[in-house]
Symmetry: C2
Subunit: 328 residues, 2 copies
């Protein structure tokens, strides 16, 4: 046998890279793929929306064409690069916001944006820490492919008798219009411009789970997940989730303050992992899954605490796929 | 004031996003940029090396041209895509390894690969968990832009009196040819094909720090860092670092078994963060920095345990930049 053949040896499976671990990794990667699925576009291209040379969103090619044709003074399809640029004459955020508001109102009246109009403006910018380029009605956010930012909190506690971590799992209200009855992180919310991330975590922890401020302030930022896909309502999601860990006292019980949950339960991590992989019974005994983007936050938690073996085939890709969206 | 102006409010700095945190994030990003620096190429393109349609490495355009011209039966510059393909007639790993060995020996005799010849073959493949496409002399690894894989362990302990984590820091031997006297992770090593990652962690923990197997087996895989850059010796590094955390007992003292370190010290995380950002005195009192790629592993540790505030400008980019290389 040539001396170099040793390098071809098959990697010896690690004691912790069992078949079960390999199955988990494969199932987790399928969950990540669900929120990164662009197949609902049917092959239609996405055209970047550019302000002052910086990309602030993206639109289906058909909508980009429509905007360029109906409002040629406001939107310009760049002949060289396939981008839609907001007219440079709109030189500040106020001017852009007013101009875009006229466009979105016309599209609403046409029926293009028929659902979920809220008269609530959201900031649109080139990057999270940069000043917004303009603001746009929240209902139009996905159609303009604007990056969305949210905070998601893994609230866990440590069983004092075993030292094992358990994760709090919320069951979403069956009355919610989106993902009713599905599993959720204990605390999660969209990021408004007027709060810091940390302030938003503390606020949402109080509103969604009755967590007192002095406990919520123990939350720690532990990383980021991102994804880009079209959801089941055809909306383009281009989101960044800021992940927080919050250790709750063993005797603390979350309270559903705002009526958006059916109940809270504390699960061991085997059950959590199985819920991500294949589903589990929620707090009212229905078999369900996590709300799709929450899977990423839970998987990230399981990766960070060492729940998965790097020797399980696909682990490297799994970790990488947790941040498939732009982190801007 | 128009109703929508509220969305333009400047984000309120979080209590934990101090100026010091912002400075840390900026300094950490500079460290990450150091190992992702391709400027030493002087603008020369990198040409993918392809086997059976899969990319297994990349070469400077000048070397790719030389290989295609001198060994046209073995290497083919694809006329349509700018890639260098190994001839399909080399249909298995043995044949490719033998053919490439002839090429690298000729380049060694020419002086192209004059340094560090080891008569040691390393596997070259399209992905970590895939069988290797062929093997190549280790000294030629960087010139062929082959992905390198390593394990890096954050060995820490928890101060029983305060509950605070401290990180073990190694000072590299001053006799080492690479990065003498610089700071290092307690345990780190290249990944050989014949071991699992976990087995390699346990083996290196014993060899590099005298950690008994029963303790080393507590190591947990907690994520991945990656980078792609040209190092100070002009070598292209295209590496994936598998990160492990290992909590050591408070009374455990590492032992320099293989003579590759000057000493070990246990540092509080303020000192560790400062060492990454600006440098620190090593175990023999010299002011130095971490070995460049170790910075990523320590930064990833600090992110995961919540040492940094997501509100610090650049945090989102920092987290993303920890995996700038391909994770294949």
């Amino acid at each position: 046998m040539p001396f170099w053949l040793a390098t071809f040896a098959v990697r010896v499976p690690s004691p912790t890279a069992s078949a079960a671990q390999s199955d988990l990794v494969a199932a987790f990667r399928r969950r990540i793929a669900e929120v990164n699925d662009l197949s609902a576009l049917g092959g239609e291209a996405l055209v970047p929306l550019v302000v002052d040379g910086a990309r602030v969103g993206e639109l289906r090619a058909s909508l980009a064409s429509e905007l360029g044709e109906r409002w040629p003074d406001l939107f310009r399809r760049d002949p060289d690069r396939d981008v839609l640029a907001l007219a440079p004459s709109l030189s500040d955020a106020d001017a852009r916001t007013a101009a875009v508001a006229g466009v979105t109102a016309a599209l609403r009246d046409d029926g293009t944006f028929s659902k979920g109009w809220r008269d609530e403006l959201c900031a649109v910018g080139a990057a999270f820490y940069a000043p917004p380029a303009f603001s746009i009605e929240r209902a139009c956010y996905p159609a303009f492919g604007v990056k969305g930012y949210g905070i998601h909190v893994n609230a866990f506690c440590v069983d004092p008798s075993t030292g094992e971590r358990q994760l709090w799992v919320a069951t979403r209200s069956r009355q919610k219009s989106t993902w009713p009855g599905m599993l959720d992180n204990l605390v999660a919310g969209q990021q408004p411009a007027e709060l810091s991330l940390y302030q938003n975590v503390v606020k949402e922890a109080g509103e969604e789970a009755g967590i007192p401020e002095e406990i919520a302030r123990r939350a720690k930022s532990v990383g980021v997940c991102s994804y880009r896909g079209v959801d089941e309502w055809g909306q383009l999601k281009n989101d960044v989730l800021f992940c927080y860990d919050l250790e709750l006292p063993w005797d603390f019980e979350p309270v559903a303050v705002d009526g958006e949950v059916e109940g809270f339960e504390r699960w061991d991590l085997d059950r959590v992992a199985a819920a991500v992989a294949t589903g589990a019974n929620n707090a009212i005994g229905e078999f369900t899954s996590y709300k799709p983007n929450c899977n990423l936050v839970v998987i990230d938690f399981l990766v960070r605490i060492g729940w998965l073996s790097a020797d399980a085939p696909g682990y490297l890709q799994l970790v990488d796929e947790l941040r498939q969206g732009d982190c801007r």
